[in-house]
């Protein structure tokens, strides 16, 4: 028997086209932000499981690190012709660039970051955005510059990229990477000019990195700083936040569930309700109300009465491949064992909160007073303040209802009212005052407490 070898090499052009198909432009930009933050994590030795440690100045658990003193800066700018992301997150070493960063997929010996998982995010993002790509990165000691145009690169059968070695910055505080992309395809130009793109991207950055923003890193989008959008969990003296922790399959999982803080008009916004899931501090699911996080499977199907529910699931691992994220970092890998386990725990920790809401809305959409008062008192909190708290189930204690006021009204004959006035010697008192006075008199003399 004779064995011959069939050609199974990827065709570059097709590969790039297929490879970039399944993610949105927003996801690409988030991938580039992941890369910058990963660089920061590596060069400054940040432990992402501390990303939730409280921010208090004198808190014993809060180790002041360089990052807290001076956050790194990532600037994202784009126009119809040019995209750029520039950071001072420490830069990529020439060795990493030569051996790892530009490979499709991590090699076995690679020391992976904590947000970059599969070793495809950067490549997929740059090839998706445009055809003229320049990457320049400098560490303190050394740097490189890489420039390609995709049409000519894809004609070349070699899978290598030209790196021009340049000097370093001499200062680790300004060491960093810039990626500049031009010559967009028509779809990308169309998205960049869309009226909603910037707002959408800003919100995604604000939510996805809400635990990193302003603490480790500042992100600006087209010159305007992105403020983090906090996870809308709240508590009060009458209702706590449930917490559960466990560690399995090399992943530490922390779950929280409780009620959302109400907005300025005293309402809950259904759009904020649901499960938030973070992997190593980066949000991969925001306000999910679908079967993906257990609604309709273990938990009831989401209905509007549950709009006060907020749950958080945090997954941490030093090996990001163990975490339940997908390559696009949007949504969850349903096959992940740790997620399958977590999902059943999420249903359990959510149950008392959902029961509270069931009771609150047991008759149509009218809020029951006891629960309404609990809900009205919920104050938004910084989820980073929850990390030190012990595991606990959700409990809401209904406040005793405040005194209900009833209006007492009746008609009386003018002549009889005047007789009372005369008896009291108060000829000028209006009828309401007479009414109040006589009521109080009866209460005092005939109804002692």
């Amino acid at each position: 028997m004779k064995t011959i070898q069939a050609d199974a090499r990827p065709e570059k052009g097709l590969f790039l086209q297929m490879f970039t198909r399944d993610l949105s432009l927003e996801d690409c930009i988030l991938d580039l932000l992941d890369n910058s933050i990963d660089s920061l994590i590596k060069t400054r030795g940040i432990n992402v499981s501390d990303a939730l440690i409280p921010l208090g100045d004198n808190d014993a658990g809060d180790k002041p690190t360089e990052a807290i003193v001076k956050p790194a800066v990532i600037k994202v700018t784009y126009s119809t012709r040019h995209f750029e992301i520039e950071d001072n997150c420490g830069g990529i070493s020439v060795k990493d660039a030569t051996d790892e960063v530009f490979r499709f997929g991590h090699s076995k010996k690679a020391i992976v970051g904590q947000l970059g998982v599969y070793g495809i995010g950067l490549k997929r993002a740059i090839f998706k955005i445009g055809n003229d790509i320049t990457i320049e990165s400098k560490t303190k000691d050394q740097g490189f510059r890489m420039h390609i145009t995709v049409p000519s690169w894809s004609k070349n059968p070699n899978w290598t990229l030209p790196l021009e070695v340049i000097g370093g910055t001499g200062d680790s505080n300004i060491a960093g990477t810039s990626i500049s992309i031009k010559d967009f395809g028509p779809e990308v130009t169309e998205r960049f000019t869309s009226g909603t793109f910037e707002g959408n991207l800003r919100e995604m950055i604000a939510r996805t990195y809400c635990l990193f923003l302003n603490r480790y890193v500042l992100v600006s989008l087209n010159g305007h700083e992105v403020e983090p959008l906090p996870i809308p969990l709240g508590e009060s003296e009458y209702a706590n936040v449930a917490k559960e922790e466990f560690e399995e399959h090399g992943v530490k999982v922390t779950l929280y569930a409780g009620l959302a803080g109400r907005d300025t008009s005293g309402e809950w916004r259904a759009i904020d309700a649901g499960w938030y899931v973070a992997c190593n501090g980066r949000l991969v699911v925001v306000a999910d109300r679908t079967v993906e996080t257990g609604w309709g499977a273990g938990m009831p199907t989401f209905v509007p009465k549950y709009r006060g529910f907020v749950g958080l699931a945090f997954f941490y691992s030093m090996d990001p491949l163990l975490l339940p994220w997908k390559t696009t970092k949007q949504g969850l890998n349903q096959e992940s064992l740790i997620f399958q386990r977590a999902r059943t725990r999420m249903a359990t920790i959510a149950r008392p909160v959902l029961s509270f809401l069931d009771n609150m809305y047991s008759s149509q959409e009218i809020e029951h007073e006891a629960q309404r008062q609990v809900a009205a008192g919920i104050k938004p909190l910084d989820v980073r303040n929850l990390t030190e708290k012990p595991a606990v189930t959700f409990k809401a204690v209904a406040k005793p209802p405040s005194e209900v006021m009833v209006r007492v009204q009746y008609s009386a004959k003018q002549t009889e009212l005047n007789r009372v006035r005369k008896s009291l010697g108060k000829s000028t008192w209006p009828a309401t005052r007479i009414g109040r006075y006589t009521f109080d008199h009866y209460l005092k003399t005939e109804c002692p407490e």
């Binding site: 399995e248 399959h249 064992l337 386990r341 059943t344 359990t348 920790i349 149950r351 008392p352 029961s355």
Partner: protein, 314 residues
């Protein structure tokens, strides 16, 4: 069953002898588990005691379980439930079972008996799912449901199928219409319950469910109880070492057919005579009267567990 002669042989519903046989068999099994190394006395028992607390009485008195919780979902019964609580150690919570399951301690081992008197519903399956996620290793889970055709007044399998598709769609798997025939309702109910349990146990890689019980009985309505131990290899070894001699009611294989609790109707005098010959050889008949062989066999299986009822004038 609706002919007059047969009705005359039926016992009073409120005494529920088959249910009591089931309880006594559970006690028997728990005693065997205790012998095999399960610290049953230290388990927490959670059940639906209602106003009678029968299961609480026998688990406390015969197994020595002290830590007990009774769940009552009907708030109008609260006063009576509190009044009828037989021991001070029984904690009572007036809420849905669902809310209690989610708060059972994960540091403690439990016997949780979800003893419903209705057919399988989505709420019941959700409770089973939560129990699968919540119960610690070594805990015992029992689920009882009504296994009659669930749509009132209809034995039509198509109606039953529609009911199951409404209440249990995601746990049904592949089915055909015969799965909804009256005789197969217990099996189908058990299947969806087991699927909900497996789903709730998803990701608990070192844990498994080891079946022990699959009862069918009827003190009126046909009821089905499925139950077993949630545990690791440690529990598996203990279960394998359990003395099962004479424990004819155990069902440790997932594909096994149910153990049907059959209570023949006998008078007190007849029982005295039969008891003196128990356990009898197959085919034995009393000399004073004739009883169908199948009734003798049924009695031989359950006489140890069968209560004797008498009127007390208090």
């Amino acid at each position: 069953m609706s002919t007059t002669s047969k009705s005359a042989l039926r016992v009073q519903f409120d005494l529920r002898p088959a249910k009591q046989v089931e309880r006594r068999m559970l006690v028997d099994a728990f005693q065997r588990l205790a012998q095999a190394g399960f610290p049953i006395r230290d388990y927490k028992y959670t059940g639906f005691g209602s106003i009678h607390f029968v299961d609480f009485l026998i688990f406390h008195k015969l197994l020595g379980i002290n830590d007990m919780l009774s769940v009552e979902h009907d708030p109008t019964l609260e006063g009576r439930v509190q009044f009828n609580r037989p021991f001070g150690r029984i904690d009572i919570q007036i809420c849905e079972a669902t809310d209690v399951i989610a708060t059972l301690s994960r540091d403690q081992q439990h016997i949780l008996w979800l003893d419903y008197d209705e057919p399988v519903t989505s709420t019941i399956l959700n409770d089973v799912y939560l129990a699968g996620s919540q119960l610690s290793s070594g805990s015992i889970l029992l689920i009882t449901v009504d296994a009659e055709p669930p749509e009132k007044g209809s034995d039509d399998p198509h109606d039953t199928q529609r009911y199951f598709e409404r209440e249990a769609a995601k746990y049904l798997g592949s089915v055909n219409i015969s799965d909804f025939a009256k005789r197969n309702i217990p099996k189908t109910s058990r299947r969806v319950i087991m699927n909900a349990l497996k789903e709730g146990m998803a990701g608990r890689t070192n844990l498994d469910y080891f079946p022990l019980f699959y009862f069918l009985y009827a003190d009126g309505h046909t009821m089905m109880t499925a139950g077993g131990v949630i545990g690791s290899n440690v529990e598996k070894r203990k279960i394998n070492s359990m003395n099962v001699d004479g424990a004819i009611y155990l069902r440790t294989k997932i594909g096994a057919s149910p153990y049907e609790i059959k209570v023949p109707v006998l008078t007190r005098k007849e029982r005295h005579l039969l008891d003196s010959a128990m356990p009898c050889p197959t085919g034995w008949q009393p000399s004073d009267f004739n009883i169908p062989i199948k009734d003798i066999d049924a009695y031989r299986d359950i006489y140890r567990f069968l209560p004797a009822y008498a009127e007390l004038l208090l």
